[in-house]
């Protein structure tokens, strides 16, 4: 790292960088962040939760020995027993087994839609906010146009076109539909952050010191604009999982034999006054997953926040 950049980095971290590290070794943002994270218990708790859900999605058989497709009306709303810790739902399926097997589709939909949304939103929001003028005008109007397209309409049109019954293809299609229409809010938010970050003194300083557009955006503006986006995206992750429920409810989302929390929440909803367990269990799985991602997001954001050093 050149001397100039070290100065810029010092500027960026509030002037404390030089004295904080006795070795005086030039540090990268990521290196700093990792050091912070290692000492943060919240980071570890949320990471364990995320890994647990991921493991559930990858190897559901490790968490339950019951077949989630084994359902019979004879067991309708039956209490716990027979390896089913939460009992059985309206169709007589093991509620817990279904929640475990539902993790895969739900996590795939939530995580990948959020990831895709993040990539599109950061790219568009950053370019629009940073370059301003015609780039901003064009991209902002694209955002307006996409905002105007109802999710339901696009979902119906796109998902109806898929003739394949392969569950994997449907999951990918649902991810794309949610992401293609879901990125606009995040893009508007990041654009606003970039616009306000761009006016800050350290950006002017970095520019003066010769940083190019790419470098200024990537190293200086992005870390300072990321906070609100992480908030929007972690919440979006949860609402994407829930949105999948609405799509399934309308007959255009995931389809049986795929199992997902969204499908189960919708099914539990119709019979919630007879038995709330079938609704509460998948909802709790969903809420815990979102909690894990929100906490993880918070921790990462804090670690990357230059002002916190």
């Amino acid at each position: 790292m050149s001397e100039l950049e070290t100065v810029a980095a010092a500027e960026l971290s509030g002037g404390k960088a030089g004295s904080a590290d006795p070795a005086a070794r030039p540090r990268s943002l990521a290196g700093d962040a990792w050091r912070d994270l290692r000492r943060n218990p919240i980071f570890w708790i949320s990471l364990v939760l995320v890994l647990a859900v991921t493991a559930m999605a990858a190897f559901p058989g490790l968490f339950t020995s019951n077949d989630p497709h084994d359902c019979t009306l004879a067991r309708q709303h039956a209490g716990p027993g027979g390896g089913a810790p939460f009992g059985y739902d309206f169709q007589g399926c093991d509620i817990y087994a279904r929640a475990v097997f539902g993790a895969r589709a739900s996590l795939l939909v939530g995580a990948f839609s959020a990831l895709l949304t993040g990539i599109i939103a950061i790219t568009v929001g950053m370019l629009a906010g940073y370059f301003g003028r015609w780039v901003d005008a064009a991209l902002s109007r694209v955002i307006d146009v996409v905002l105007g397209i109802p999710l339901l309409l696009a979902a119906i049109v796109m998902l109806k076109r898929i003739s394949s019954d392969s569950p994997n293809i449907r999951i990918i299609a649902v991810i794309f539909v949610l992401a293609i229409l879901g990125w606009t809010t995040a893009a508007r938010v990041i654009r606003s952050s970039v616009i306000s970050a761009k006016q800050q003194d350290y950006v002017a300083a970095a520019r003066m010191l010769g940083a190019g557009n790419g470098r200024t955006m990537w190293r200086h503006i992005l870390p300072n604009s990321l906070a609100p986006v992480i908030v929007v995206l972690t919440i979006a992750l949860g609402s994407f999982i829930a949105a999948e429920a609405t799509l399934s409810f309308l007959g255009i989302g995931l389809k049986a034999p795929t199992i997902s929390w969204g499908i189960d929440i919708d099914a539990g909803r119709t019979h919630m006054r007879e038995s709330a367990v079938a609704l509460v269990v998948p909802s709790t799985f969903l809420a815990l997953t979102v909690l894990a991602f929100i906490m993880l997001g918070d921790a990462i954001r804090d670690a990357f926040d230059p002002k916190l050093r």
Partner: protein, 543 residues
Amino acid sequence: MQVRRLAAWTALPLAATLGLAACGGGGDSGESDPNATVSIQIAEPQHLISTNTNDSSGNQVLSALFAPLVDYDEQNKPFEVAAESVNSTDNLTWTIKLKDGYTFHNGEKVTSDSYLNAWNYGAYGPNGQGNSYFFEKIAGFDDLQSKDPDGDGPQKAPEPKAQTLTGLKKVDDLTFTVTLAKPYSEFKTILGYTAFYPLPEAAFSAPGVIKDGYEDAPIGNGPFKMKGTWQHDAKVEVERYDAFPGDKPKIAGAEFRIYQQLTAAYADVLSDNLDVDVTVPTENLSTAATDLGDRFQQSQNSSFQFVAFPTFQKEFSKPDVRKAISMAIDRDEITKSIFKESQISARSFVSPVVAGYRDDTCGEACEFNPTKAKELYQAAGGPAELKITYNGDGGHKDWVDATCNQLKTNLGVDCVGAAEPKFSDLLTKVEGKQPVGLIRMGWLMDYPSMENYLGPLYTTNGSSNYYGYSNPDFDRLVQEGTTAATPDEAVKKYQQAEDILATEMPVIPLRFGQNVYAHSTRVKNVEVDLFQVVDMTKIEVVS
């Protein structure tokens, strides 16, 4: 496609399921208040012109505004209301005499012309009326239609040859004759349908042209008249018409309140914000009895639920495969666990509400017998994977999934319930001959006759025979039934036709529906008829 049709599919998105039983309103004690009004749940009617109305919400409103020529008694036989008599000696020419004293709400007298003008309007092809097929039995119908010369192409269809039906003749102000194209012994029965209401002179701006705005405030000959206009998506209000010569209603008026979802109406009836909820949603069935006590009621209706086998899917071509699938379904368990006894297991191909219905015409094929079903299925080489395609907007998921689970267990096959967003998407797939598997179907009758089930559902050209079932013997028997000399002879032919269905199993009968309705503490004597319409002359308000 031959156009013979049913009516009264409710337009609600969650048009749940229907159901039977003890009829009549609760609590006959106490006085009633003749000056009070009631509120009744409907969906947004599609139309309020009698020749274009065939959804149950539109029928409900029009049943308050109009008096029919005939209505149906407890045995579902027609009796005269606005008609003095409906007679024929040869089943070909029918003489209809009207009762004197009926007036439209604007004071105009109801005459033969009121009927002839309305029916001619309804039958005239270019008017695009939804009930036009009701008039196709009348002589001269074909001359009122025009064929588009290039199908769906851009050319406009020419004007039809005639403007009025040759079969309709006025005798005097209160008498007219109807000549049919072919003899039809049950013509009197179909006259009870909405399509056969009269229209006043005031409805027309010129002969054969309905006045703009008539539909927003229809003028009828019935016990109630419009109060204001049709408030789209909100309500239709009616008030008592005092000059009505028939049975006087026991209320001063009614508000037909428009609901988008059945659950919203249910919440309102629970808190006495709504007087009559005509359809309690399936998801509330298990708690409704506790919520409402004897204000939760059931009555017979005409709905028939079944699954059909598309003939283009060769794996279902053996009758034994179809029979085995039918035998592997435990109907009683589903009506009990899913529908909480609000529907009845079906083991016949027509509804119990029609004359000529017999129990268990389906025989062994509809008896639950998992062992025999599995043997039969394996012997006949049934497919290892089954699929039941249904429309996702009708509240069908629960029973389709349960049925699939039964098939999985009892036949040892794989089975999935595949939801299409709506019924027309399902039809598009069927018409495109895509592998849809079994398809969910339902039927509500237009008029109480076996023919109204056998014709549309199972004849080769039946309007709802989407699955392509065709049997010349069956077609012939139904045709002979419609032209039989007496209703009894007709029924005999229909029953012979039904017996063919039992051996071939083109569809699997599953359930007969019932009206499942609820009312508030304010009202009593609430009755819902076969067509899911609240009887507006019986309902009373507790004072």
